[in-house]
Symmetry: C2
Subunit: 321 residues, 2 copies
């Protein structure tokens, strides 16, 4: 078992454990993906750990090993919460994998891994202060400050999605109201579009959704906007404003050089990026007295989490870092 573990081979393995699939990659020295393996994510703690071990076996031999998981992951690799995984609350992922594999495993939040990857080999190379906002169904993120990836005290830095931007706003799955991810995520775009539809301001979007305003999803807004439908363009502009509100708040706090937008919503960047940048310039504190951070789209796509996990796994092998 230890024959395929760390210190024998230099190429690190990273696994991104998501709600539906589990992706493993082995990285070359330049950050390129040499081999990859993908499986469905099962339910239950043992089945999940076994799946990770199977992917590791598929991809052996490897050097350092890191795993990214969507949820609140402690610095000791315990999964305090993972809304998209079944039967894992409180699971000691790092210890469980170390016991099965016989070598050390680094476990981090998936967006923290993606942030590290985009910083070291993606859109944010050569920046010292960078934020990644992963706009997907919800919103995750990560922070590079002062030339270092930041984890926070417990490992929970970067949970941007539950920043309250409107205390009287719509209820959030987290139990509060007006969280940023109710506006600036994929689910948020769909909600903004449904509101426009119910107000009679999105006829073409409703057409594309089959005629039912309640069926409107983000892709219907994107399709209508690409056709030039002004109602859809207006919804995209409103979405861009809400994205900017959160990015401005984070910029006031952290003054990044660059903000990288990742997650599934990055696919519609050709539509969103203009409105986001424009609203950002209007909402930032003292916009005329400072350079604005570059707002760019992530470069590593859906593999960013697995790539970053591999890099963090490799880094921790070296006691000097």
């Amino acid at each position: 078992m230890t024959g395929s573990g760390p210190r024998d081979h230099g190429e690190p393995l990273g696994i991104d454990l998501g709600g539906t699939k589990c992706l493993g990659v082995v990285l070359g020295a330049d950050g390129s993906v040499l081999r990859e393996s993908r499986r469905s994510t099962p339910a239950g703690a043992d089945a999940i750990l076994d799946t990770i071990v199977s992917i590791a076996s598929d991809l052996a031999p490897y050097g350092g090993f890191g795993v990214g998981v969507a949820g609140l992951v402690t610095r000791a690799g315990v999964l305090n919460a993972a809304p998209n995984l079944t039967g894992v609350a409180g699971l000691a992922v790092a210890d469980g994998l170390t016991a099965r594999l016989g070598h050390r495993v680094v476990v981090e939040n998936d967006a923290t891994c993606a942030t590290y990857a985009e910083w070291r080999v993606g859109a944010g190379v050569d920046t010292g202060d960078m934020l990644l906002a992963a706009l997907g169904t919800g919103i995750g993120g990560g922070v590079v400050a002062g030339g270092r990836l930041q984890h926070g005290h417990q490992g929970f830095a970067g949970e941007f999605g539950h920043m309250v931007v409107d205390p009287g706003g719509p209820p959030c799955v987290c139990g509060r109201r007006g969280c940023w991810e109710r506006y600036a995520s994929g689910a948020g775009l769909a909600r903004l579009a449904r509101e426009a539809a119910l107000g009679g301001r999105a006829a073409r979007v409703v057409d594309l959704a089959g005629g039912d305003p309640e069926s409107v999803r983000g892709e219907h807004v994107q399709s209508a906007a690409r056709e030039g439908d002004p109602d859809a363009v207006a919804v995209i502009d409103e979405f861009g404003r809400w994205v900017a509100v959160g990015l401005v708040n984070l910029t006031n706090a952290l003054d990044p050089e660059m903000i990288v937008l990742g997650g599934g919503m990055a696919d519609g960047a050709d539509l969103y990026l203009g409105p986001i940048r424009r609203w950002f310039g209007e909402l930032l504190y003292s916009p005329q007295l400072r350079a604005h951070p570059r707002i760019e789209i992530a470069r590593l796509g859906s593999r960013a989490g697995a790539i970053g996990a591999a890099m963090l796994g490799a880094q921790r092998l070296d006691p000097a870092t």
Copy 2:
């Protein structure tokens, strides 16, 4: 002139340049204040620089020299904006002082200086991830992350006051709406109290303000609350909720071990701290699945900025740090 400058004497000098007064301190090795000097802040760039030089002369000899200024201070010590100072927009404070004094001067934002002081010798000693929120007339702040004081790319990290927490809220001096400092500062407390008074829900507070709701200030709310007036206690609770909204947003982003509350509003901490902590626990993401940061009052009072400026001035003398 250089005889009283850095490298000759180990005890650093720090100056906090505020809108009304300019405070200088010389620090002992344990962070205690050995000597201090205070002057009124004049108008105009030359007069301000001359005042700083006079205080330095009062307090010579000294080692490293740092200055904290309220405003957007670049990493090169240029004052991009300073709403409370007259005639200084674009002033190169560090270069101007270096030219007058013949030795290097470190210039930083005042709340960044206060954050450093509270972290090294105040409330946040031995933490690795700490935030300071300075609740005064407005709100400033600072960030310690990963065991380092963070400056941000341009030097503007910690401008928490202009985080938007209610896009439909009251207009802010910055030109936007619903900034956190419209609610969670001294001016914010007064505004919340005036709203309560105009709604007939703060009779005792209005009495203490001389009978005119428009004259209500934060200290009237504090006095009435200390008498046990339930309307005033309700305003303080609402204030505590707004303070908590901002602290929760910052905690979701940065996961600090400790949050230090400084600025003038720290004086009423006996009234606020309970409501702030209670609302924080209700508003935090996944509060039951994590340790909450300690929320404590700053220990260094109104000298924090000058103390931190001295420490940062001393630190930069050493090329290794």
